[in-house]
């Protein structure tokens, strides 16, 4: 099973294993990683699972989808070029070891 390393804004790390096909948001919620709310249940509709993809992983994880995900990130606080909604990252073996950094607070 692929693993994800969630890193909180204060540097605290959470390494979780997830089944292939699971989203990074679901992985965080299922493993009680703090700071990922996922209020909309994975529809790219609330931006409470905002993460920064570690630059080494950007190519594999991909950029935000322009129609729904990007507009939500545009309105999220502190969004950057490597911002994604974790609910829109489906985990595969190719993403094993993915590093996702979290903002200080979801808003």
């Amino acid at each position: 099973m692929p693993t994800i390393n969630f890193i909180e804004a204060d540097g605290t790390g959470h390494r979780v294993e997830v089944a292939e096909g699971t989203s990074a948001m679901e992985a965080a919620v299922q493993n009680n990683v703090p700071g990922i709310d996922g209020d909309c249940g994975g529809q790219a509709a609330c931006a409470t699972c905002h993460v920064f993809v570690d630059h080494d992983w950007l190519e594999k994880a991909g950029h935000a989808e322009p129609e729904t995900e990007r507009p939500m990130l545009e309105l999220a606080e502190g969004a950057q070029d490597n911002s994604r909604l974790a609910c829109q990252i489906a985990m595969t073996d190719a993403l094993d070891g993915l590093v996702l950094r979290m903002p200080a607070q979801q808003f």
């Binding site: 709310d37 996922g38 209020d39 909309c40 249940g41 529809q43 790219a44 509709a45 609330c46 931006a47 409470t48 729904t68 507009p71 939500m72 545009e74 309105l75 606080e77 200080a104 607070q105 808003f107």
Partner: protein, 418 residues
């Protein structure tokens, strides 16, 4: 079971095409709307109402359909379309005062203005309000006449939310009664018990406009502050915003930033009265406040609906919605959709995923003040639990507001049992 709706009502007694859920009386009497929405969700989830006081409109009643409309801002436009009653946005009569805030806009203007307002209610800015809020909450709760009957709404819900709003926009605390009045007037319309006529509403709205334009000027000349008016006045993105829009965004903060939280505060007291087992559950484990707060927000559904206008013909839920049609997303119905929320007609404070509710809306128009609302409710309930009261009993019939938009509690008689 909803304890509030004790009178049995057969929603099938009305032909389905004649169902009109926009009637504000349904919510003021607090009857029949639960049954009517349950029938629509089951038999006609995308429902056309050909005749209403506000003209024809579609009702979207299921959770997943509401999510689909709310997230499709290209086809379902907010441009002057968020209320079924156009007069709520553009006003009516001589000297009407329109309030076109960013809530009633589409991208890109929406995004620009929303981003400018956002820092005022962002978590970083809320931290500074937290201690003030807690001190005030303690003081308000200490002042309550334990053992006697009193009205919870003015004593607690109005007082706390107006104090918070005044702080948020740095409005003189001693004049905060004006904010409460304006808040009621902004959403008011003749016949609702708040305003008598459009002329009266327009007069009071102009007073509001004058006050906030004066405040804007003062803040512009002062150093940038952290209150919302200063943030708006100094925003480089909003330098070209016209004055009408400036005031409109202030009115959005006033209504969004206090009525909804006020009503959810009152609604949570009523919910615990109706579900005493949940009250005991919370007393045993106050850490459940984390999941109880979003559940109270779902239960209240303080904004009952928001509407949109279709920008093109679209097939939706087996119906054809035509370009130009008004479409109302009934959050209050989606929040009781059994397909998504188990035992949705019960107030349950320890749900697995309590944050999955529609009360804040979804998509680009999602409630900007949601973190502020949650913080205020959390602090109120932490301090209520710290009191160790045995019970807060609702001693009489609550009075609900005459509105199809904001689910308001105007009075809530209670007695605290120490």
């Amino acid at each position: 079971m909803d304890a509030q709706s004790s009178v049995s009502f057969d929603p099938h007694s009305i032909p389905i095409e004649d169902i009109d859920v926009s009637d504000p009386g349904l919510y003021q009497r607090d009857e029949h709307w639960r049954e009517l929405f349950a029938r629509l969700r089951k038999d006609d989830p995308v429902h056309y109402c050909a005749q209403s006081e506000y003209g024809p409109f579609w009702s979207i009643t299921r959770y997943s359909d509401i999510m689909a409309v709310d997230t499709n801002h290209r086809v379902f436009s907010s441009d002057n379309a968020t209320a079924l009653d156009d007069a709520r946005i553009v006003g009516e009569g001589d000297g009407a005062v329109p309030i076109p805030s960013f809530l009633q806009m589409d991208p890109p203007r929406h995004d620009q203005q929303r981003k400018a307002v956002s820092p005022a209610v962002a978590p970083a800015n809320l931290v500074r309000l937290q201690d003030t809020m807690r001190q005030r909450t303690k003081k308000v709760l200490d002042s309550l006449p334990v053992g006697e009957e009193f009205d919870w709404v003015p004593a607690v819900s109005v007082e706390l939310t107006i104090l918070m709003l005044a702080t948020l926009i740095d409005f003189p605390l001693e004049e905060r009664a004006k904010l409460k009045r304006w808040s009621d007037v902004i959403v008011g319309f003749p016949g609702d018990g708040v305003v008598e006529s459009w002329e009266q509403r327009n007069r009071e709205m102009r007073e509001l406009v004058d006050t906030f334009l004066r405040m804007k000027q003062e803040r512009e000349q002062a150093e940038p502050g952290r209150d919302a008016i200063s943030i708006l006045a100094h925003s480089p993105d909003l330098r070209d915003m016209d004055l009408v829009e400036f005031v409109a965004n202030v009115t959005l903060l006033i209504v969004g930033g206090n009525e909804t939280t006020r009503n959810t505060m009152s609604g949570s007291i009523l919910a615990f009265h109706d579900f005493p087992d949940e009250w005991e559950k919370l007393r045993r484990d106050p850490s459940l406040i984390t999941s109880m707060v979003p559940e109270a927000i779902r239960w209240q559904s303080p904004v009952m609906y928001q509407s949109r206008r279709a920008t093109e013909d679209i097939e939706f839920g087996g119906k054809t919605i035509r370009k130009g049609d008004k479409v109302a997303m009934w959050y209050i119905s989606g929040n009781r959709d059994e397909e998504v929320i188990e035992k949705a007609d019960r107030f349950i404070i320890d749900r697995d995923r309590p944050r999955q509710h529609l009360s804040f809306g979804f998509g680009i128009h999602r409630c900007l003040g949601n973190r502020l609302a949650e913080m205020q409710l959390r602090i109120l309930w932490e301090e209520i639990m710290a009191k160790g009261w045995r019970r807060i009993e609702v001693t009489g019939k609550p009075e609900f507001g005459y509105s199809n938009t904001l689910r308001g509690l105007n009075t809530l008689p209670v007695r605290i049992h120490a």
